[in-house]
Amino acid sequence: MHPRLATLRRIARAPKGLIGLLLVGFMMILALFGAWLAPQDPYAQNFMATLQPPSAEHWFGTDQLGRDVFSRILLGARTSIGIGVGGVAVAFVIGVPLGLAAAYLRGTFDSLLMRGVDILLSFPDIVFALAIVAIMGPSTLNVILAVGIVSVPVFIRTTRAVAMSTLAEPFVEGSVSLGCSPLRVMGRHVLPNMGGILVTLCSLLFASTLLNASGLSFLGLGTQPPEPEWGTMLGESRSYIRTHPYMATFPGLFLALSALGFNLLGEELRNIYDPTSARRRRGQGLLARLLNGGRALPVPRETAAQARARAETVGDAAAIGRDLEISYLTDKGPLPAVRGVDFALRRGRTLAVVGESGSGKSTLLRAVATLLPRGQALVSGGSLRIGTEEVSALSGAQVQALRRQHIGVVFQDAASALNPVMTVGAQLAEAITSGRRMSPAEVRDRSIALLKAVQIADPESRLDAWPHQFSGGMKQRIVIAIALAQEPELLLADEPTSALDVTIQQQILTLLRQMQKERDMAMMLVTHDLGLVARYADDVAVIYAGRIVETGPVEEVFRRPRHPYTRALAASTPKLRHGGGTRMLPAIDGEPPMLGQLPPGCAFAPRCARSGGRAVCTTRAPELTRCGKADVACHFPDETESLHAA
């Protein structure tokens, strides 16, 4: 299907979008064909029939000169819609390129342009419009120019501001420094990023442009009679507002409906072009709300099985998962991303969770952190205990207390994990004081101690600095300090070094390991980097397609990997046991299965060299079973297979 048609279909699928599309279409038809559809002469006066209420002959009544309002509305569509669309188009065509150029070129051009915008804005709209009308004479075209030019500064400023922040993003800076042509940078990176806000702005300005035009009519400077235009008709009828209210109703209604149509359409377009808003909107569907039951956190009610699991927990574990299932909420219903997972995080030990992208490892970590994206994912089965609490049974406030005192989280990208508009000290203090009262001096002492602990030099002076003033490694240290603020038993690290360069990676992981040992915490380290697992973890869980396929102590699993997936991983990283450098997860033939399209039986079977097409592999999913010191989920854990050359 043609992409544009696809967009149309997507718009039409949402009720708001459909209504918007229909209204805009209707108005466009009126604008194009209204003049031919008019049943009576829109200019013909009849003093015998002035100010008539709506009737069979005059559907919308007649005005003060006895003209048929219905016909005037139809004819007026052309001018009215023209003013709205034309005005916005004038502002867009002038404003957006100038704003982009200013953001890209900066320097003299930028400051000159901004001075020009200042000058433009110094002249009040009305005076400006008056001048345009005075110089060129009052006509609809000049009204369009006047209301359009009045909106130009808004476009310039918005475009410039958004473009500047986009251009400052690392990936765009990269392509700029690689010598990409400005047009390409704009077209590839900048415009797509501001599409949403520009569409919103256009749709909002459409309505306000129409209103500005009607404001001009109010002052006698708009479209001049007898030419029908909705704003002018509305303005002319304002003195009849009390005695003949229907006179204003119809132009007002058409004005409002066209504004409504453009706004709804604009909103739906924004949802489509701006992926973040679209995902959220859909996530909050009826299903999600039903499943949430309106609670603060997406935790289902405790089932009997979960209650049983709760009774048989292990004493020294900081967190235990039993038969855990985590699902994403989609249009087609909940989609499990993690299925039947058992794990235990024990104090003083680090569990590394290893897997490919999309295997569900980060989802698992987020579930343990109680940070599953609200309305998008939830724990849909099994039991998750943190400390002594069953998470699903906790209230919102209890979950918050849990996060405060028991869980610390270190995120993948420290740069985006810190709020850019708060000082480091404030963000640290927030973590320290959350849920308890402390004097400012105590908070300060604690902050400094934490920064010292994560080896940040000169912590006293760093408290007032902003995140953007720190390097990537330093930011991650601060994130770690925040995670440790209230001495949690559980430290969760989600690929904490993937955004950092190699030397910094080592430092951060050493620091994490040191902290974990010193404070006797249980740590979960999610990574796709096997090299790290050997050096920084005690236990490992290999996860594939949402299930743990092999888990056990690091030495055992790496010395004697039993699951074919683990073996493939291990074999493709020969120097693994020597622990030299970092090893990325090796390439294995075939693609990991898509979420929701799991093959029957063992999920790894299609890529498995060992299975050899045996029926059991494709019909029954293997359970985790004890083999030596590890647990393996394979029907044939003790076989070996001839590996493809790695």
Binding site: Y43, A44, Q45, F47, T50, Q64, L65, G66, L130, V133, A134, G137, P138, L219, G220, L221, Q224, P225, P226, E236, R238, S239, Y240, I241, R242, T243, H244
Partner: protein
Amino acid sequence: MNQILSAVRSSFRARTVAASLLLATALPLAAIAAPEGELRIAVGADATTFHPHVNSLPVGNTVDGLVFQQLFRIDADNKVVPALATDYGWSEDGMTFTVSFETGHSFTNGRPVNAEAVAASFNQLLDPDSGSIYAGLYASLGKAEAQGEDTVVFHMAEPNGHVLMLLANSAAGIIDTEANAEMGAEYGRKPVGSGPYMVEEFIGGERFTLVPNPDYKGARPATLERVTFMAVPEDGSRMALLETGEVDIVDRVPAESIPTIDALDSASVILPDSMFSISMEMVLRGPLEDKRVREALNISIDRDGMVQGILGGLGTPSQGQVGPGTEDALRVTFEPKPYDPERAKALLAEAGFGPDSPLELRVNCPNGRYIKDSQVCQALTGQWQAIGVKATPNVLDLPSWSAAHQVPIEERSYDMSMIGRATAGIDFTVYRLFRSGVSANTTGFNNARVDSLLAEGRATTDLEEQKKIYAEIQQIVWDEMPFVFLWYQKQAIGIADTVTGFTIRPDETMLFDTVQVSVDG
């Protein structure tokens, strides 16, 4: 009173007028009581200044009439009557005009209103460098000179038989020139006068209040403790103020609001005449030089229909160019122009215009200057189109509309323009509109007979002769039809029932001589 005046006018040697006697009879007994009650008025126009030499707005005229005293004034019946003046007369050659007046009055700052003060006031009015916008209009007065304590002599620049009319206009209010010099522009806001009221407070664009002048000893003492004016330009909002009882009087009631206000228990609308005479002033060139065309345009419009249908009754079809109240002694009226589209078509055909060679007309109208002006414009062109004239309406913003009249006749971009004229005095009106070569004459009207009659009318001070002269001028104008005469506007004033004794003159000046507000309504 008219008889007395004409008697006075008929002789060159002045005869004493018993002004105090005259005024005593005109004054109701109630006015002698102490002032009480507050009158609140919402007006559509912003007052800019009360300085009589600069003010050009009706609301300013109203205030000036209350704050200043004059030698002569225009009364509620629209007649020129003596105010302070006790005696006056012309010299034989008509080049000296002498007025004696009542003494014993003083400005609110204590300075006496004596001959010196009156002469200084007029000399400032006559000095264009003072910023007076009426220096040209009053130029014939020449120079004023004090004579003793109670007489002022005007050494005329040229004879002018219409001096009394000039002296009765509010621009001739007696100001305290010394206070004016001290205060500068503030004098326009808090003028120092000697009238029955004084300005207590003036908040630009919002409101101003008048309170009685405690030192006033004249014949028209204040009847109200306070008069508050509010400026509210939007019609709907102004009407709402009367409906909610926040004000007692509103001006410029739009036609469509009259039933709403009349339906109130507490207020009603009065419809006094207005001097505003609305016409389409033609540019007399090309086809419009043909009188048959002008007549065709004049008789092809349904004035009654438009007055009722568009103006909502706020008009009277024209009976002559000069509006009611413009010096009734000299004004004459005629049968309104008939509505006869068939004859109009015939006249056009006679003049050589038909379906194949239609007359083309570009019709300028202001937007928001006169009652329903832009709608009238559309209605007019519609009716002319009905007799085969290709008339196009051109509704303009006020500055463009006004600027279009300033262009030399040959270069005008239009064929006729809607203009309303409201001017006190017949001489002033017809001289400026129909004398050839005068700039307010937008039509290019040039009639030798009218020009010579205008000169004669100025030279004579004899009322009977003036009557004859000005009647002929008005007849010629009515027959020649340089304008498409439309109508005289009517004023529409909403008044609360608690207010009694309120009058408003055709020049839209409000008179408060006998106004009272009853507290319980």
